[in-house]
C-alpha cells in the first residue's frame, strides 16, 4: 500500500513537471525525460565524480561536527536545569536566525574552500540536534539520573551510559532534521565559497543559464535528499516504536 502511494506521488510530480514544461517552455526548464537522461549522462561522466566526492566529504564532516557538538551542547544544558534556563532561548534564537546572512563572516573567518563549506554546513545542523538532545535530557526519567548519581558516576559516564541510550529516539529525530539542514548548508556554502562541489556546479550553471545542468543537478539532489530522509524517517519510527511501544 505504501509503495503504491509513493508511486502515485511520483507520478503526480512527474505529470505536474511535464505540464509546467508545456506551459513555460524549453528556455525555463527541461522535460522530465531529458532531465533524467542528462542526469544519467552526468553520473556516467568521469568529470562529475570529483565534485560529488568533494560535496560528500564536506557534508560528512559537517554532519559529524553537527551531531557531536549538538549532542554535547544539548546534554550539557539538559543535565543542569539552570544552564538550560539560560541557554535554551539562545539556542532557539540561533535556530531561527537567517544563517545565510552569516556566510560572509564564515568566509572571512575560514577562507574559500573546504573549511568554510564544512563550517557553513555545521552551523545549520547543530541547533536542531542540540535542541532535541536538550529536550531528551530534560525529559529523562529522574530516577535514572538519581541512580547514576548514587553510584557516583562521573558526568561523562552518565552521558554515555544513561543519557545517550535513553535519549536515542529523540536525538535521532534531531539528527533527521539536522541532516537536511546540514545538506542545505553545505550546498549553500559551496554555492558561495568554493571552486568545486555540487553547489559550485549549480551556481555556475545558474550564472551561465545552463538549464539542463540546473535541472539535472536539482533532480539528483532531490532524489538523494528524499531517499535519505525517507530512510531516516523509517529508522526514526522504528526506534520510537521500539522505545515507547506506541506506533
Amino acid at each position: 500500500m505504501r509503495t503504491l502511494r509513493a508511486a502515485i506521488l511520483i507520478a503526480c510530480v512527474l505529470a505536474a513537471w511535464q505540464a509546467l514544461f508545456a506551459f513555460a517552455g524549453a528556455s525555463a526548464l527541461t522535460s522530465p525525460r531529458d532531465t533524467i537522461a542528462y542526469a544519467a549522462e552526468l553520473l556516467s561522466s568521469p568529470g562529475f565524480y570529483p565534485h560529488l566526492i568533494e560535496t560528500a566529504q564536506a557534508f560528512a564532516v559537517a554532519l559529524a561536527i553537527a551531531i557531536s557538538c549538538g549532542i554535547l551542547i544539548g546534554f550539557t544544558l539538559g543535565l543542569y536545569r539552570f544552564a538550560a534556563d539560560v541557554g535554551e532561548p539562545v539556542l532557539v534564537a540561533l535556530y531561527s536566525i537567517p544563517k545565510i546572512t552569516l556566510y560572509p563572516i564564515v568566509l572571512l573567518a575560514f577562507g574559500i574552500g573546504m573549511p568554510a563549506k564544512i563550517a557553513f554546513g555545521a552551523i545549520h545542523g547543530i541547533m536542531p540536534i542540540a535542541i532535541f538532545a536538550l529536550g531528551a535530557a530534560r525529559n529523562l526519567n529522574p530516577v535514572y539520573l538519581k541512580a547514576a548519581r548514587v553510584m557516583r558516576l562521573p558526568p561523562s559516564r552518565i552521558a554515555a551510559r544513561v543519557l545517550l541510550p535513553a535519549a536515542i529516539p529523540e536525538i535521532f529525530t534531531g539528527i533527521r532534521i539536522g541532516f537536511s539542514l546540514t545538506l542545505i548548508g553545505t550546498l549553500l556554502g559551496e554555492m558561495f565559497a568554493s571552486q568545486r562541489g555540487i553547489g559550485h556546479l549549480l551556481i555556475q550553471a545558474i550564472g551561465l543559464h545552463n538549464v539542463r545542468m540546473i535541472m539535472a543537478l536539482t533532480l539528483l539532489l532531490v532524489v538523494v535528499a528524499v531517499t535519505a530522509s525517507a530512510l531516516l524517517l523509517a529508522v526514526d519510527r522504528r526506534l520510537r516504536r521500539h522505545m515507547f511501544g506506541a506506533p
Binding site: R5, I105, I214, V226
Partner: protein
C-alpha cells in the same frame, strides 16, 4: 529572572570580548570590525537613508511570502486533514521536504517570472508553506473527539466546524508553524537576494562582501539579525500571552 540576567551578561561579555580582540588586533580588521564601530556605522547607514529602499523591499517581500504561506498553509492543512488518503500520500513528501534545496528552483523562477520580486517571494513562500501545513495538521490531530461530536450535534457544516471549533483549538500548534514560517521566509527571501537580484538587503550584503566593504557589510548583517530576532521575540511574547489567557 536571574537566568535572563545571566544570559544578558553572557551576551554582553561576548560583545566586549569581540571588541577587545579586534581593538588589540587579535582579529584582523580585514576580517571583522569592532562591535562599537559596527553600531556606529549602522547608525550612519540608517540616518543616511540610501539603504531604506533596500530594507523596505526586503521586509515587504518577507511579509508577503510569510502571510501568503500562513493563509495558504492553514487552508491546505485543513483540506489535507479532511482527506485521509491524500494525507497519507503526501506525508513522505512533507517529511523529506526540508531536505530539498529549494534555492535550486530559483533560476527556474527567474526564467518564468523575470528578475523581479516574484521569484524571491516565491522561494520564501515555498520554504515557509510546508512548516505551516505540517503544524496545522499536527494541531488538527489533537482536537478532542468530543469537540467534533459536539459540532456534529449542533449540525455545523465542515466550514463552520473548521472555523469555529477545530482551527481555534489548533491555534497554539499553528503558531509554532507561524514562527517557523517567519524564520523561513526571511531565509528564503534573503538567500534568494544573495544568489541573484538587483536590490534588497541580501543583495547589499553580497555587494559589500564582494567589495570588502566591512563598514557596510557588518552593520547590515547585524540589522538583519536584529530584525529577525525582534520579530521572533514579538511572536514569542504574543504566544505566551495567548497561552496564559487560554489556561485561565
Amino acid at each position: 529572572m536571574t537566568a535572563g540576567r545571566l544570559r544578558f551578561a553572557l551576551a554582553l561579555a561576548l560583545v566586549l570580548l569581540l571588541e577587545a580582540l579586534s581593538r588589540f588586533g587579535v582579529i584582523d580588521r580585514f576580517a571583522m570590525i569592532p562591535p562599537s564601530e559596527i553600531l556606529w556605522h549602522l547608525g550612519k547607514i540608517l540616518s543616511g537613508g540610501e539603504m531604506w529602499p533596500a530594507i523596505g523591499k526586503t521586509l515587504t517581500n518577507v511579509a508577503m511570502a510569510c502571510i501568503a504561506a500562513i493563509i495558504v498553509g492553514v487552508i491546505l492543512g485543513t483540506l489535507i486533514h479532511g482527506w485521509r488518503s491524500l494525507r497519507e500520500t503526501l506525508d513522505p513528501l512533507f517529511a523529506a521536504y526540508y531536505a530539498i534545496p529549494v534555492y535550486a528552483f530559483y533560476p527556474l523562477f527567474i526564467v518564468i517570472f523575470g528578475l523581479g520580486d516574484v521569484p524571491q517571494v516565491l522561494i520564501g513562500f515555498m520554504l515557509a508553506l510546508v512548516a505551516v501545513i505540517v503544524n496545522t495538521l499536527n494541531g488538527l490531530d489533537r482536537v478532542p473527539r468530543v469537540l467534533i461530536k459536539t459540532a456534529r450535534i449542533q449540525r455545523l457544516g465542515p466550514l463552520a466546524t473548521a472555523l469555529k471549533i477545530t482551527l481555534p483549538y489548533a491555534v497554539p500548534y499553528i503558531f509554532t508553524g507561524v514562527k517557523l514560517a517567519v524564520a523561513y521566509s526571511f531565509i528564503g527571501v534573503i538567500g534568494a537576494e544573495l544568489i541573484m537580484s538587483r536590490t534588497g538587503l541580501g543583495y547589499e550584503i553580497g555587494f559589500a562582501y564582494n567589495n570588502f566593504d566591512n563598514a557596510v557589510m557588518y552593520p547590515l548583517i547585524v540589522l538583519v539579525l536584529a530584525i529577525a530576532a525582534t520579530v521572533n521575540t514579538m511572536f514569542f511574547l504574543w504566544e505566551k500571552k495567548m497561552l496564559a489567557r487560554r489556561r485561565k
